[in-house]
Each structure stands twice: as C-alpha cells, then as structure tokens.
Symmetry: C3
Subunit: 670 residues, 3 copies
C-alpha cells in the first residue's frame, strides 16, 4: 500500500504553518485565545502532546485524556490540523522511580536521572512496554478524531545507554551482523591490543577505558545505537499504522545530527521533518542552513519535507543567544520553502512561563500578541497563502554531494591523523561555492543512483565500501564528472585501512595515487599553484601524491612537497574525475567548483548573482533571498510575478537586506 505523505497534509491546506502547542502549560481560558490567534496568523498545523506523558498517564496505566480531547476539539473547531505526538521522548518520573533500570547510563557508568527529559535506556524492556502502551492508548482514542492529521513519534531521537541491558542488546545486534565470534574478532581486528573475544558475554559497549577504544567497536556501537532507536520508532509507528492507515507518521530529525543515520531512517518515515536552529552570528549560516535543507530533500527522495521546528528569534540553549533581527524569521522560513519545505513550524506556539526552555522564543512571546515579534509571525503566516502553488513542487538539481553517516562516525574517532579534517566541515566547504553561484545541489547517500547528475562531489568519504566505490567509478565511466576530496576511500566497512597506494578503490578512476597523509603545521598555510600559474593557499592537510595518468591541475609550491601534485584531473571513460589532496582556501575551492561545473556543463540559475544573494528555483518559481547587509539589484533573465507581493518584475529585482522575492516566471526556464 502507498503510504500517505506530505500531500495528505498540504493537499487542502497549501503550505503548512504552525508550531508546537503545549496547552497543558496553560489554564484553559488561554486556549480559546490561542485558537483565535492561530486563526489570525494563518496557523493550520500544530504539534500537540510531545511532552505530555506524565499528564496523560499520571500513574502507570491510568490515563487522563479529557484535556487532550478538549484541545483537539478546539483545534478541529478552528480548522487547525493536529500533528499528535506519542510522548515517548520523556517518560514520567514514576517510570524512573519504579523502574530505575529504565534510566540511561553513560559511558562512565553513571546513571542519569529524571528532572530534565530524555531519561530512558532505548533497550529497556519496561520502557519499551510502557511506550507501546501509551502509543496504543493514544491511537485507540484519537484514530478517528477529525483534528488528527499526522502522528509524531518521540522527539529528536538521540538517546544512548551503556548499561548491561544495552550491552545485551548490542550483543544481539552483533550476533545478527556477524553470526559468530570469529567473524566479529576479524571485523574488529581484535588481534590488536589483545582484544580477542572468546565468549559473547565478554562483548560490551565502548565504556570508559584507560586509553583509545577499538575503532570498529565504536563504529558498530554508533550503528547499533542508531538502529536501536530506530527499532523503538518502528514499534510505535507500526502500532499507529495499524490503527490509522491513512495518517502519516513522522519523527523530527535534527539535520546533521551525528547519533542517528537518517539515511537508514528515511524510508521508515511517511513525512521527513526536521528541526533547524541556525546560529545567528555565523556568516556561514545561510549556506549551512541551505545544505541542511538540501539534506532533508535528499532524505525525502526529492519530495517535499516539513520544517517541524525553528525559532522565531533566540533560542535558550547557547551560552549567549542572539535574537533574529526583524525580517530574519521570514527570510529563514522562505529559504526552507525555496529548498523544498512544504511546511514551516516553530517551537513553540506560546512561550512557556516555566521549565527549562522558558527563554526560548515562541510565536506568541511572554509580552503577548501585541508585539513586534508576533506581528511578524502573523504577517508571515498570512503571506504564505500566496505561495500555495509551490507545495509539492520539486527543486531540480544536476549536482549531487555524497555524504554518509557511517563514514562520519568512522572518521571522527580519536586516533586519526588530524581532528581538523571533519566530515560535515568538508561537506560545507565544498558546498559553499555552489551555494554562492546559485547551483542547486542534492545531498545523496553513498551508493545512491547517480545517473541523473552531471556532477558528483565527494568532499570526504573516509569509509568507502567496495560497492559504493564501484558506483563512483561506473558513474565516471558513463560520462559523469566526479570530484573527490582528501582522505577518502581510506577504510572499508570495518574501518580497516585499505592497504596499497590510496585512495585504493578509486585510484584507477582518479588516475592518481598517494602514499602518505601529511597533516600540515597549524597556522602555516601551504602555498599551492594552479598549473596556469596563479597561487593559492591550502591548510591543515596535504598528501604525498603522484599522477598515474591524471593531469596535475595544481601542485604544492613550497616545502618538502614542492612540485608534487595537489589537485589532479583525469579523463576516464566518458567522464572526468578530480582528486583534491589538500584543503584549499575558499577562493580556490570556488575556482575548483567552477572548473568542475564547466566540465559538467552546469550553470547556476542566474548568470550574475550578487554576493549575499541566494537563488533557487523550485518548480516554476525562482526564489531570491538577500542574506547580505546591503540592498542589491539582481538581474533576472525573464520577467516574473513576485508571489509574495503580486508585483511584476522585469530586468531586475531590488532586494533590501533580508528581503525575498518569489518570482513565478512568465517564460519558464528550460
């Protein structure tokens, strides 16, 4: 059966707008004001009950649903759809008190307590049972409620536990993966440091130890933790699907969140939803946020996704929480729409008076609705109606960037050549020049079908399986353009180093190979030179490479590596493969991106994009977003109508800081 997805939500409503709604924090007289304010602000979706377990089940097995009935009735009466939460993210105190073994244990052996949230061992039997019980009760009670539009399981899954129950579950997972101990010993390389296991009972999670932990043990632990949480998610999801086959089920992701391999979770979701809290003070924020949105679109298989949580202004969990200046809320929300979001929700509707997040910005601030902030929220909710036509529309991209959690986990362990070369940082470094040129990028997993792309970038895949490597090779053979960043292809699925000249599984397609990874002294850039003659700087990382057929595009220009290749380009089969053996400065990466785009015949959506302006085409609409601090004039090739204002633009549009245009072009681009 085909599962319902975003379309089930947006079909009648257009773009979704709303937020987390926690009415149990307020007296009921406030609820009616909430409903009226929601209507005025164009809210059409609220998430209810994420942290309501203790309220819904104040004692084990004793439920109090009356208040939730009234909330859902109220929402239904105001035509606000409800994303109803299964509240498993935060068990009530009674669970930890009665069953202390449900409380999580950290890698040092400390049990963590309630008083906060998320205090559960994902493998705990009693926790699993109580989760299913409350899920079943909710599913039974609200299956047919007219407000119910989506189920929301847990919240920001990411819990980990190192207790003995978790150890037993880990062993079960390992048995399933390896079958027997000999295979595990082989995979973990236990001949190193006398770690050979003679009995399954000896195998434990990575716990505090005198020195570096076995890296494959840690890699498998990351895998297990992701899978164990996923199993919990699936248990709830299956209960919900059984009761309400027509209602989509989701859980909210957290972008590049290391604990959970979202690639493996994506297919379990009916709707991909994400929580996104950009750092306001960072100049890389627009690109980083765009990259995160592109990841979500990738997880959704190119279909629309839902921005489940964002902040209207400052969050409260940083040391110093900068607010969003006026216009920023709208700019960031529309950036998500441009990149495939069909819904824009916030944490949370009304700012809490108490609890640990009472200083997190909300749609209705403490100061009330008659405020600058709420006015902005309301105006934005209203203007979204004008964008209804983009719901469901795709964001076409001819460039893909490959990113994988397993490689991330394997790379960023202790004991590697340098902790300055990191997976997400590398991805972002390579992403920025495409973002700045208005070239849309899909983020895809290792092993993805690449046939639709003209250019594929692998900023770093430290761990690269044989099949995935073969896929990259075949892609180039078939005419694709491939760019591979440093320290890729180093280890196999067991995190064993592939022996021989590196990158072992790609050296044929790259026409180049290396023999040493050479971290460079900190604070001392390495001068490099394009074969044309211009210099640039690299940093942190170099490699001892040679061309085995490839053209040397840039070489190191000083030190022991002077004259050795830094960047190589290889015509291979019908395609072209690039290898980058260092970390070039941003301008050099931009130049590299330009050359690779030329190889691939790909251009940005606009020929002359002013600095600071983001340009994305979604369906028939060209989004232009000014992240810069100055007013800019953006030339547009075709006239169009700005869906946000109704105004017609021709020749150019003028964008003040934080301004956005959503131009439905009269003559759609090819």
């Amino acid at each position: 059966m085909v599962r319902p997805g975003m379309r089930a939500l947006t079909g009648r409503r257009g773009l979704l707008f709303g937020g987390d709604y926690n009415p149990e924090q307020w007296p009921e007289e406030v609820w009616r004001e909430d409903a009226e304010l929601m209507r005025a602000a164009g809210v059409n979706l609220v998430t209810v009950g994420v942290f309501s377990w203790a309220r819904l089940e104040p004692e084990p097995g004793k439920h109090d649903f009356g208040w939730l009935d009234r909330v859902l009735d109220l929402m239904a009466g105001h035509d606000v759809a409800v994303d109803l939460a299964v509240p498993t993210a935060s068990p009530p105190p009674w669970l930890g008190h009665r069953r202390p073994e449900t409380l999580p244990v950290d890698e040092g052996g400390h049990r963590l307590w309630y008083g906060s949230r998320n205090q559960f061992c994902p493998s705990s039997g009693p926790y699993r049972e109580r989760s299913q019980s409350i899920t079943t009760a909710l599913a039974e009670r609200y299956a047919d409620h007219p407000a119910l539009a989506m189920w929301h399981v847990g919240n920001e899954y990411g819990e980990v536990c190192h207790c003995d129950v978790s150890a037993e579950a880990f062993r079960g997972w390992l048995r399933a993966r390896y079958g027997d101990l000999a295979t595990l010993n082989e995979a973990w390389g236990t001949t190193f440091w006398s770690q050979g296991y003679g009995d399954w009972a000896e195998v434990v999670p990575p716990r505090r130890a005198p020195y570096l932990i076995n890296p494959t043990q840690r890699l498998d632990w990351w895998r297990f933790c992701s899978d164990e949480l996923r199993a919990h998610f699936r248990e709830q999801r299956d209960i919900l699907r059984a009761h309400t086959p027509g209602i989509p089920v989701t859980t909210n992701f957290m972008g590049f969140f290391k604990r959970v391999d979202y690639w493996s979770w994506a297919a379990d979701q009916d709707v991909i939803s994400n929580d996104c809290y950009p750092e306001p003070g960072d100049p890389l924020t627009p690109a980083r946020t765009a990259l995160t949105h592109d990841l979500m679109r990738g997880l959704a298989g190119g279909r629309p996704w839902l921005l489940m949580e964002q902040a209207t202004s400052a969050v409260n969990w940083r040391a110093h929480n900068l607010p969003k200046p006026p216009g920023q809320l709208r700019l960031e929300s529309l950036q998500a729409v441009a990149r495939g979001a069909d819904g824009l929700c916030y944490f949370q509707w009304r700012a809490s008076r108490f609890g640990a997040e009472r200083f997190h910005a909300a749609m209705v601030p403490h100061a009330g609705p008659d405020t600058r902030l709420h006015a902005e929220v309301r105006a934005h909710g209203q203007e979204l109606r004008g964008l209804a036509e983009v719901a469901g529309e795709p964001v076409p991209a001819r460039v893909a960037m490959v990113f994988g959690w397993e490689s991330w986990w394997a790379l960023e362990d202790r004991g590697r050549p340098s902790d300055r070369l990191n997976a997400v940082d590398q991805l972002l470094d390579y992403y920025v020049p495409f973002f700045e040129r208005g070239v849309s990028v899909d983020v895809v997993p290792p092993g993805a079908d690449l046939s639709a792309y003209a250019l594929v970038v692998v900023p770093n895949l430290f761990l690269l399986g044989d099949g995935d490597a073969a896929g990259l090779t075949a892609y180039v053979a078939g005419g694709g353009v491939l760019v591979v960043g440093p320290f890729s292809g180093v280890v196999d699925e067991n995190s064993h180093v592939r022996t021989g000249r590196f990158p072992v599984p790609l050296r044929e397609v790259l026409g180049a190979s290396g023999e040493e990874w050479l971290p460079a002294p900190e604070g001392q850039p390495v001068r490099c030179r394009w074969s044309g003659g211009l210099d640039f700087e690299a940093r942190t990382w170099t490699e001892l490479l040679r061309a085995d057929g490839a053209e040397v595009v840039a070489e190191f220009a000083e030190g022991d590596l002077a004259g050795r290749p830094a960047i190589l380009r290889h015509r291979s089969g019908a395609g072209v493969a690039w290898y980058v053996g260092t970390m070039p400065e941003p301008a050099a990466l931009a130049s590299l991106a330009g050359r690779a785009l030329a190889d691939a015949g790909v251009r940005g959506v606009l020929p002359d994009l002013p600095a600071g302006v983001e340009a994305v085409r979604r369906g028939a609409v060209l989004f232009l977003l000014n992240h810069g601090a100055t007013t800019v004039r953006v030339p547009i090739p075709e006239p169009g109508v700005d869906l946000l204002t109704g105004a017609r633009a021709e020749g150019h549009v003028t964008l003040t800081p934080r301004a956005v245009a959503a131009l439905r072009q009269e003559v759609p681009a090819a």
Copy 2:
C-alpha cells in the same frame, strides 16, 4: 534576651587583631614563642580548633582535651582572647570510615572521600549526632574558661550532598514549603517536559540528567541546601547558647558566596564575620573588596563586623599566587576598618609545615619572625591601637544597593538568554562609580526598609517577588530615587516568567516597558546616545523598550534598535525611577550614577577625589586609602588629625602608593 555582639569583644580590647591559631601542628615548645610574638604584635584574638576534631576526639566518644586546656590557659595568660571553634567542618577519618553514608555524594552520584576536608553530608544523621556530641563536650568543658570570648561554628559553610538521605531531607523541606504535591507540581511547572510527580517518593535533588534540569527544582535545591546547612549551624549554636549565654556565636562567611543565602543566616549570628581573599592582580579588586565589606556591614544591620580571615600575602589555592607587595597588607586591613570592621584576623598565625595549605601566607612565615613580612604584621597590629576609637562606629550611607541570593540563584542557571549578564558582576558594575566618587553604599536585601535612603539601586533582580516590587514602588512614591538595571523583575518566586510587557511588576513606576530581551553580538559594542547628544557604548545586552510616560534619557543609535530607548527616567509620585535596558560601558554608568545622585541630592565625602583613592567616613574619622600606583595629593575640606601617625593635616594630605590616612576631623562634616 539581647544577644552579645562585637561590643562584647571590642569593649575592653578596641579593634581586634589576630588570626587562626593551630598549635596542634607544633610541638609545645613553640607555643610559648607564639604567645610572646602575639603579645609583641598586638594580637588580642585567636581562633583555635577549627580543624581539631580528630585531635580532640581521636575515637568516637573518647576526648583528648588536655592540649587544648593548655593552649587556652596560655592564651589567657597572655591576655589573648580565644574564638573557640566547634570543629564540625572536618570530621575525623573514623567517621567516614565507620559511617560511609556520612560522606557526601556529588550530583553525578560519586561519593567524596576524606583525605581533604569538608567531607560530610549535611543531612546525615550520624554526622549531625557526632557534631552535637563534640559541640556539647566543648561547651561543657570551656564554658567558664577565661580565654573564651567567642564561639566559632564550623568553617565556611558550603557543603552539598545529593545522596538518598539528602533527597529525603529535600522532600521534607518541600513538603513544608508546598504542603501537597499538586502545589509543588504547579510551582515547578511540571507540565513542561512531562515531569509531573504523582508520589512524594519520586522527588529527588537535581542529579546528573540528559539535559537541562527544571529551573524551579534547582532553585528550591539552592534554597534547601542553604537552609539545611543553616539548620546544622543552629543546632550547634543553640547548644552553645544554652551553655554560655554571654558568649557570642559566629560562623565565618565568604562574601558573595553563592551556596549560602547569608541574608537568611544573618539574624542567626551574634557576630557577622567574613573571610576575604582579594585577587591581587585585578584592578577591580579595591572596589570589589569594598563591596564585599559593605555587604558584611549590611548583613550586620549596620553594626560592626569581623574580618575573620585574610592573607598576609599570597594564598596557595590559585594556579599562580601573587604575593602582596609591602604595604598592601596594611592597606587592605584598614580598608576593612574604614567600612565597618572592628576586627582584623588572618589565616593563619604561623605558616604550616605540612598539609595542603602549607604555602598559604601567615602572620609568622616559614622563615620566622625576623622577616620583612612579620615586621609588617607587627607594625600593623601595633598601629591599630591608635584606631580604637572607631570601634563600634557606624558608616553612614544614603545610597542602597539591593542584592538577593534567590535572584542570583534563579538568574544564573543554564538556559537563559545570556550567561554574560550575571548578578554579582552587575552589582559591581553599578557599585564602581559610587566607590570612585567616595559615596558610601549600603548593600541591602530585597524587601529591606528603604526609607532611610535617598537613592536605591537595583542592578539586577531577575527574581522579584510581588511584595518586594511593591516596596520599590512605594519607595519612589514616597520621594525616593530608584535605578533599575536590565533583566529585572523577570520571574516570580517560583522562577516563572511574568507574562506581559516587562518588567511586569515595575513598569508602572518606571513609566516604561519592553517586549524583547535582545542579547547583542559579542565583541560588537552597541552605540548609544544620551539625549544631550554624546555617544557611549553598551555591550552584550539590549532590550526592545518603549516609554510609557518616562523620559528617554539615552537611546540606541544603531542597528534595528536605532532610535529606541536605552535608558529612561520617570518622575513618579514624589520620586524618580530610572530604567537601564542595556549594559553601558563604565564611563556611561558613571555618568548615570552622577545623574541619579543629583536626583537624590547625594554627594561623595570629598569633592575632588583623585583617581585610585578610596574615601570613606566612619563615625568621626575620614579614611583615605591610595590604591593607585602614584603619589597623590588629596584636598580635604576640614583639618584633621591622622590617627595612624598623630600628624595634623590641613588643606590636603599626600598619599604615597598604598598609604592610608585616618583623619579625625576637627569640625565634623554635616
């Protein structure tokens, strides 16, 4: 019955001078040298036995008092009064060994061991019993000893324990506060994050948890911890009072020490005593120390207090311990006298040869009495006799600054807008300009009677109860001048945010209100402008404010807030109320202080005070202290006699670096 106080000590002796005396660390032949050296140095008070429990009670119930008898006899024979300690701060190893449950447990669940000091759970039954037993034994034995002049309970109270016994005590405290669980759930806001408690047994101290702890749970924990230690203090005090009604009882405070709410402890003390260890390298040290002394005077209700511990030179517990240059010991000691201290004591008399504090400076250093340092100590002890007349004299102040522990606790939790806005830092920032002008300030608690003050400054009261807010309003109505700093009046006693335009309980009196707290980017000062036209810089914090009747005295001059109020002044009733919605640079705070002083008609003790010179009037004596690095000439309006030298001064006094004058003016100032 009226309790004896400082006067019981100073009546016959004048100013007190001495220190901690730990003769059990030395062979008895050294004691006699000690007594002779004390006499030569003018020592008239020593604190004995603070860490002598294991020596006094080497086995449970078996006492060895002989050595202490001889020490007290020796002191009596040399006319040195004894502040006799109840040694509960550091139980003997036998207690932790025999009753491990008396050892404290940290918030991560680790039990802490003996081998250091302070290893006790304040709620532990066996610890409480053994404390009372040793206290009773000491009281019985020494009640009538002629050397006994004061009792000293424990030392620097501040211990905390998270064990199950502490949890039970916490629950008892909470039951007393809230009566029933429903009220606790309401106060703690447990509908947030599914924290509703269904059984008292579920309630625990804040322990290590996956994320932010409930802020009201933490606030109540701070309250409980302070109260629990206070209960221990009172148990000993009551035993001592029962045995020796005429002997004052104290425990030594630690200035702005966060763990313990000294406002609640102050009334329990017969003498307010304090330990003060200024950081030598910090240019703000003179002001910070003065502020601490003013706090002590406030705790003492304006009566004299005792500087129980200071260092003659370097301490040993910093990473790099700077010594005091010659003259600094005297300068700092006289600063305390100027601000109300009637006694100047040191930790400790003779530098230890062994133990963890053997590198802490003492009155007699390792090198012996024939040293520069001891000579300075002796000279200072002798010169104090000339100041006997100031004993008991008050330090008049027409300005009050309000500071409260509960607000401090509530503010400085995780999860707030910015951890750069802190309670004591704000207090000091506002204090400095008054210090620099020679304007004396009383530090008072929220809810204090303000009627005697011409100006009241509230640098920050994040937590502000309804009654305390009403008191501030009434003060202005009655003609007072009030200055309120940013982020005040935010939460109520339960740390719940007050909803509506802020500061909710003060916006009437301030004639102004706001809707957003807006932390400013770090390292980017915000330009502001006085209504007169001069610019200044603010930092870290801004607010979105509007005048509701108040005059805009300064506005923000750039960014999204340009043109919005930064500082407002409101004539209200017979008084004036100021609100400061940012953190102005020091010069701007100084200007603000000047304007508020003008509103209040208050001036410093001298019209033209050179930079670096502190001026305080105590009784009939004007103290002038040169903290600067250069010799200065200080104009004095009236001639006077310097009690330290006997010299007459007229027109001005000249002060070399670290010099002090104590002028009894011939014509007392109005």
Copy 3:
C-alpha cells in the same frame, strides 16, 4: 652473577635496528614478505608479542603457541633476533569479564573497562597470578629458542588503581614504611585539617574529595604506585631469569614519565630501553630529546641503552599529528646513537590495518614497501652498519644535572605558590644552553656520586633530603662548581616545609638565604641587572633574598625587589656555589651557564658551533647533527672520516638541513 646487558645483543650484531613486530595482525603469507623486507632493511631485532595475550591464551590456561613458534622460527631463519614480550600490559577480555575486580578504578571510583588496553589493577591478586602463569608458560616454551635474544616485560608501565584491593596494598606499603600509625600521622601531618588516623583500616589512597588532598598522602601514593608496578615487573623478571639466566630482561621506559620513578627501576633492568616520540612542531624538540636520551644514559649508569620505540613519521595520538619531513627519521635516530643508544627500534614494523593505532606511522606503511618512507627506513638500516664501532662506547661528560622523581611528585601538586614552575621545564631550561654549546651533560639522581663532575646543576630540587643536601655541600667543599635553581630545598622527604631562611639545607654552601617566594605577575617580565651592568628579563618567579657571604652577580632592577639579589655566587671551600632566585630568560640562562662553565673549566666539544647544530662526542666519534633549516659550515679542529659516507673531512664539514656527520677523528681530542 653478572647479568647480561646490551653487549649480549650488540656483540655480534653491531647497532640494533628494528621494531615492534605484530604478525598476528596479518595472514601468514605476509610474514615471509616481512622477513625478506627486514633482511633488506638491515633489521636485526624485533619485539614480538607485546599485545598477544588474548591470542596466546584465548581461554584461561589454554595456550596457543603454534603461530608464535612459526614466527620465531622465521625470524631465526632470517637472522633477526627477537625481543620476546611477556604480554601483561593488556589482559584478554576474559580476565576483566570473569574477574571484574582486576579492572582498574580511577580516583573518582569509576571502574575502567576493556576495549582499549592496560585495563588492570596492579595490586589485583588474580591479575598477578595470571601474569605469572603466562610468563612462566612463555619462559618454559621459548627458553631455548635460537631467536630469543631479550625478554620484554609488559609495556610502558604506568597503570594506577584506587580500588579497595589497591587500598589494602597501599596500607601494607605504608606499614612497611612507617611501622606504626603514629609515625604515619606525623609524616603526613594529619593534625592539619583533622586527618588523624586511629586505625590502619581508615587509610585509603587519595580519592576524589571535596578539596585539596593531603600532599604527603599524595606523595606516598606516587611512591607506592611506582613500587607496586615495579613489584609486578620484578615478579615476571624473576621467573624469566630463573628460566633463562643468559637472556637480558627489560621493560620499555617513557622518558620523563611522571608515574614511575625510573631511578628506582633502573637497577632492576638488564637493558635500559626507552620509547621516545618527540613533538615535531616544537623548536625545543632537539634539546628535549637530547635531554631524554641523556636521562636514559644516566639510568644505564653510562652504559649503552636501547631506543625501543620511536616513530618513522607521524604518531596518531595527538589532536593533529605532524609527520616527519624526509631526513628527520634519520636525524632523530642518529641523535640517539650519538647520545649512547646502541639500538634503534620503531613502533612498529608494519602499519596496522585495524585497531586504535592504525594511523601511527610504521617502517612499512599502508602504501607498502615501494614508498619514500620505507626507502628511507631501509637506507637508514643499511647505513647503521657503518657505525658498528660505536656500539658500547661511552659519552663522556663533565657536567651533571640532578633530577629526581620524588621531588617532581612533591613539587607538582595542587596548592603550591605557582603551577608555572615545574620540574622538567626547569631542567630543560637549564639544559638548553649546554646543549647549544655542545657540552655533554649526564643526568643523575639526587644522592649520586658527583666526584667525577666539574659542574653540577640542580635546576630544581623542591624536595631535598638531608643526606642529598649534605652531598651537594661536600661536593662544593671538594672543589666542585654547583648551580642551584629557585624553590629548591624547600621540603624534606615528607614534603614538610623546612622552617627558617631558605633554602634551609643549602644556605651555608650558597652563602645566601631568603624569606619569601614571590610569584611575579604573568605577562610582566621582571627587569634584572648583571653586576656588570647589562640588563636581562626574568619571569614568573622571584624571591626575597639576601647575601650571607655570597657575591651578588645579578640583582632585581625594578619593583619592590629593586636592588635585591637575583643571582648569587659563593666561593665555598674549594669550590663555587651559585643560586638563582628567579626564572631568567634563555639568553640570561646561557650567560649563567657560560660563567659556571668557566668556573668549572669545562668547554664544549667544538669552539664555534653554529646555531642549530648539535655536537656530541661518543667514544672516538664526533657526531654533528643539523637541526636547523639552513645549510651550515661547521669548523672542525681535527680532520676525520665520516663513518656514514666514508668521506674524509678537514677544516670543516658542511651540513644541509637534517644532515648528520659521524666523524672518527684521526687525532682523538684530549
């Protein structure tokens, strides 16, 4: 019986060359390639089995020696000697699983797990028993194997445990040291902070406590931990010696490793061996490494020692691991030869594919033998044959520097005047000028026989026993030149401060004394002045000193100490004693070294040594090593033949960066 030493290894083989060989990580088909590559590279010694316990004894008492038989046979067949390891450094998982009490407990009470290495409690009975069992089994099996050339016990001993078993062992050690509790109480100064022990059972290791731990308790803990590990080493050694009296036994040291007092361990070793991993990016590395090598020579009593582990290039355990540039491997290896090493080994032979150290450089890198790195290894192994004649030769030195672990431990505890004055840093500061002048230095322990030395330098001996102080005094009386650095002679063996003017036990010989240690403000150098008139800067530390007969060589020139002595020189008996009461800048220390060398009549091996060039004479060979970045011309007084090239040099040698000359001089220098 005379124990066999390095000569047993080098007699037939000349200098040793090789590394750790872990064939169990590889299929057997790789082994033969290994053996061939070893032969080609001149490898003549490999260390086998350091981490093979789990492989050798996969279940308790069940051994699998077959693979090791084959490895040893293979090595014997290729004339590669084997340093066979007793694998006690890393017990198999089955030990921790079956006997969790063998797992170590940290000072906070956390048990550490397997999954890494080194997870044992040194005092654990079961661990001790299993260690002896595997040692006995290995000794029995391989006693007569022709490949066996040395036994290697454990690895980098340094484990510590705070469990109750360790506590019992600690008490046993304390009973042996002190006899009775009264003596322990006296030694530990337990009258401080109420720590008097009434029962042995109360005494525990230093565990996590509320504040500073008793410093003598900590000092004794350091002593005990070193002794307890040593007892473990000796247990294995004695088993091995009983089985193979002719085979030397060693364990690998780690240079200035704080945990273990190598002076006390040295006599237990048949061969002193060391692991040395210089930090590549630090300009002080050449001197620091030279100092470490000199320490090893000192531990070996002037006899040759073995460089057991070094890296061919980058290690993997720093955050950012810089590689060695070409030539560096050879330069560092020959530096060890110059300073007395008769063997140069690496960790490890072949880079691991898996495990926590797979990114640690090896002799055969992942990229294989056809690499720049392996070529360098092979060339170096081959050229070492030309140096065979230096094996066994001494490195003559007329200067000694005194360094002691007990003083190091006592000094670097919390609660001291400054944590910026540290034992090894002081040693290095004083060592550098001698290194730069080509003056060889022996590192000797406190209490060493100094009669052979013309100059003895004590950079810091915070703890100085009476006998050791008397030895220094006698040395000067006998005509020696002594230089004593600041904060020396402060405490006795119990870490009790010696009272009186400091340095108490040396003030006679120094003709000077002081009364205050005065840490100086950070970032503010203190200007000093040589009596001649030139200024220099000191930092961090000053002292209030006076001359009691000594000549003031330099004085402080500013601040409260202006005009007071900074450096003093005292003709005493037939000798000269210097005292340095501050931390002079490097140029001033160099000047000081020059003056002391002139007093002692000692000169460097070459009159005009260019900057960056290290010069050491070993036997008849003069080693010149260029650590600088430029090519230099080094004048040589006598012609000689470079053993590395066979070329004759006269007048001078020219050294490119990282070049080395090993000149056997035709006319040996006097």
